[in-house]
């Protein structure tokens, strides 16, 4: 399971959002924002619609950088969510879950004016 996820890809829209959030919060590293974004989305039980995303002009973040120390824990959370949403947790499904939730999460953060740093 270790190498289940290598990286996560962001769309150009998501990239913009990330940039905005970075500017807004002053958080230096994307991965920090992404973690919070991911968690914010995971907290919402409603399923994420699986959209086709455009990853051109987007961004790639290395999974290990993203997860940091808590890599295994994040992975398990993703697995669980995938099982809950899809019923089965194939590698691809998990990857999709990550991507989907991350995107949704970023939207959440952007929309919340007082996100993260009050």
């Amino acid at each position: 399971m270790n190498n289940l996820i290598e990286r996560v890809r962001l769309s150009s829209a998501a990239r913009q959002q990330l940039i905005t959030l970075k500017r807004r919060t002053g958080i230096e590293h994307y991965n920090v924002i992404c973690r919070h974004a991911l968690c914010a989305s995971l907290a919402n039980k409603s399923p994420v619609p699986r959209e086709k995303m455009q990853f051109s002009n987007g961004l790639e973040i290395d999974w290990r950088t993203f997860a940091g120390e808590a890599e295994a824990t994040y992975l398990n959370l993703l697995i669980m969510r995938t099982l809950a949403d899809e019923g089965a947790a194939s590698a691809e499904a998990v990857r999709n879950t990550l991507t989907a939730h991350l995107h949704r999460g970023l939207s959440y953060l952007v929309s919340r004016q007082d996100s993260l740093i009050a």
Binding site: I27, V32, G68, N76, I117
Partner: protein, 660 residues
């Protein structure tokens, strides 16, 4: 007043007298004269001298020094004497009806170099030591030594009195002696001595005194100056204080106003700005802290919601499954081991039962063990919770800090915004500066005046101490000085008074003397009409003769003899003044007088002047009718004869006319 009468005199080993020669000098009433005739050099003068010496000792010579007296005695002392030189005088002293018979004797021991005199007084035959010791005072009370010159005198004295040049002075001195003015003179002399001493003393001290007095005056002057300065300064200080306080109040008032109009903010601008900057920095730091909190990989997990609970449940379940598998595997192995071991030991049936039983039991774990494991190897979420919660807490607190910092910043930003621009304040600042300067100046003035006042007060204290010391020194050291100057003034005043007193006394006596002398003189003079009166000038004691015609008669108009008579008249007047009675001894008084005048002298003078009169004369003086005249009043007559052989004189009795 006492009456003195000589009874007799004895002389030995003095002058021409070798063996003791005694003259009985007793007189009867109406016959006062004792006549002693002797040629010149026989001892007449010695007799007179001995009489004076036995009575008065060294004082007989007047103010002569002891050495002169000693010389006199030594001169008289005979070398061929066996025994001592001695004079003794028997006398009777009658006072208030009482008679004392005294003998006063003096004798001398002239050994090699040493001169000693022994004075003894016998009363009624035995030695009276008391009178002997007080002889000088005793005799002085009866007849002071100064006056003895009038009672015991010689022809030379008469000559001198007859000299118009010396007469006034002698008359004056004699009067002074009678009046006891000698006492006044010696008092004056003592006073002069006191004055002189005081003057010397004063002179010595005057330098010091003067400088001390000047120092004192200077200190007083300085003290006055300082006191004046203190008065002026005191009021100046008060005034300066008022001015200072006014300037202070003015500045404070203005400063308060200015502060209210934003001056405080302006002054504090830098402070405010830097505070704002710090607040900004704090906000940045707080933000960084928040970001850091967020950066914790586990921090985000706090926001995962209910998924976390599900995760924990699943994780536990999978942990159970893993444990079960592991346990199962261990159980299986053990079962196999046990079975293996038992296989040969147990019957096959039992073995099979056991094997099945074991297998059945294992089922309980199999089910769990069969669970599919989906989760990756991860830390126990239950355990992670602690970390997550910690992280969440840190985050929250960082957020709170941030909020605080932001709030502070806002306040400070507002303050910064409120800082007025420099331009608005130029006037205000200028005014403040002016008022501050005025206040400083007023303060400096006040402080300086206060200091000056303190200095002067210290000075005054110091001066006071010095002044006290100087005054103490003055009164201590120069107490004597004051006394000296008082002594000098008192002495001078007294002397002036004494002088006036003396002059007045003498002047008062002059009138009386004039009268007395006139009487005596007219009685003695043959030419009655020549002289009408003798006048003694009260001031100068010059004696002038008023002739019969009322005009002044120059003394030169008198003959030498007449002048002698005048002298005798003076003496007579003076002796008569002394109411107490003392023997009169006259040595060759008649030499200059002619016969008529001699007789007049005898009648008018010798017979009357005293109760006892010794006349020492040369052989020619008393002769013939003169002798006869004298005899009428003579109690005894002696002749002193000098023998060339024996080189000494003897006294022999001349037959008295009565006897003859």
């Amino acid at each position: 007043m006492s009456k003195v009468t000589f009874k007799g005199i004895g002389i030995q080993n003095l002058g021409p007298f070798r063996e003791r020669q005694y003259l009985d000098l007793q007189v009867g009433s109406g016959r006062p004269i004792i006549l002693v005739k002797a040629l010149n050099g026989s001892g007449k003068t010695t007799l007179l001298t001995c009489l004076q010496v036995v009575l008065y000792g060294a004082k007989a010579l007047g103010n002569a020094r002891t050495s002169e007296y000693e010389q006199l005695i030594r001169g008289l002392h005979r070398q061929d004497a066996s025994g001592r030189a001695r004079i003794e005088l028997d006398l009777i002293i009658e006072t208030d009806g009482e008679s004392d018979h005294l003998t006063v004797s003096r004798e001398w021991m002239l050994g090699s170099g040493k001169f000693s005199e022994q004075l003894l007084v016998h009363r009624d035959g035995s030695v009276d030591f008391q009178i002997g010791e007080e002889w000088d005072e005793y005799l002085d009370a009866i007849l002071p030594s100064e006056l003895v010159q009038l009672f015991l005198f010689d022809g030379e004295k008469i000559e001198a009195l007859a000299n118009p040049k010396t007469l006034p002075d002698m008359l004056r001195r004699a009067t002074e002696a009678f009046l006891g003015i000698g006492g006044i003179d010696s008092l004056s002399k003592d006073l002069v001595a006191v004055e002189r001493r005081a003057l010397i003393h004063a002179k010595e001290a005057s330098g010091d005194y003067e400088s001390a007095r000047q120092e004192l005056a200077e200190l007083k002057r300085q003290q006055d100056e300082v006191n004046g300065a203190i008065d002026v300064l005191s009021s100046s200080v008060g005034h300066a204080k008022i001015l200072f306080e006014a300037a202070q109040a003015d500045y404070r008032r203005y400063s308060d106003d200015a502060r209210r109009s934003g001056l405080a903010a302006f002054e504090k601008a830098a402070e405010i700005r830097s505070a704002e900057q710090r607040a900004r920095e704090q906000v940045a730091a707080a933000e960084a802290a928040v970001r850091e909190a967020l950066a914790d990989p586990y921090a985000a997990l706090a926001g995962v919601g209910t998924l976390w609970e599900d995760y924990k449940a699943l994780f536990d379940a999978e942990m159970d499954a893993k444990a079960s598998r592991h346990l199962l595997s261990e159980i299986d192995r053990r079962d196999r081991r046990v079975l293996q071991g038992l296989k040969s030991e147990m019957p096959v049936k039992s073995f099979d039962i056991l094997k099945k039983a074991l297998a059945a039991d294992s089922q309980r774990y199999k089910k769990v063990a069969r669970k599919a494991l989906v989760l990756a190897d991860a830390p126990d979420p239950t355990q992670l919770e602690v970390q997550i919660e910690d992280g969440a807490r840190v985050y929250q607190s960082a957020l709170a800090q941030l909020a605080e910092s932001r709030a502070r910043l806002v306040v400070l930003e507002r303050k910064v915004a409120a800082i007025p621009a420099a331009g608005q304040l130029t006037d205000m600042l200028a005014q403040l500066e002016t008022k501050a300067a005025a206040q400083s100046r007023a303060e400096a003035d006040y402080a300086s005046l206060k200091q000056q006042l303190e200095d002067q007060q210290a000075s005054r204290q110091h001066l006071g101490t010095r002044l006290d010391a100087a005054q103490a020194r003055m009164s201590r050291d120069f107490r004597g000085q004051a006394l000296d100057s008082k002594a000098i003034m008192a002495g001078q005043r007294t002397r002036a008074v004494l002088s006036i007193f003396k002059d007045r006394l003498l002047a008062s006596k002059a009138a009386w003397l004039s009268k007395m002398i006139t009487e005596e003189f007219r009685a003695l003079m043959r030419k009655q009409r020549l002289v009408s009166s003798v006048q003694v000038d009260p001031q100068t004691y010059a004696v002038s003769i008023v002739g019969g015609n009322g005009h002044e008669l120059p003394m030169e108009r008198l003959s030498a003899g007449e002048r002698q008579l005048l002298a005798v008249a003076v003496l007579s007047a003076l002796i008569r003044e002394r109411k107490g009675r003392f023997p009169v001894v006259v040595d060759t008084p008649l030499a200059r007088l002619d016969r008529t005048h001699r007789e007049a002298l005898i009648r008018r003078f010798f017979a009357k002047v005293s109760h006892q009169v010794m006349v020492l004369s040369t052989d020619e003086e008393v002769e013939g009718s003169v002798y006869d005249e004298m005899s009428r009043y003579t109690s005894a007559a002696y002749l002193i004869e000098f023998s060339d052989n024996s080189r000494s004189s003897t006294v022999g009795s001349l037959l008295t006319p009565v006897e003859s």
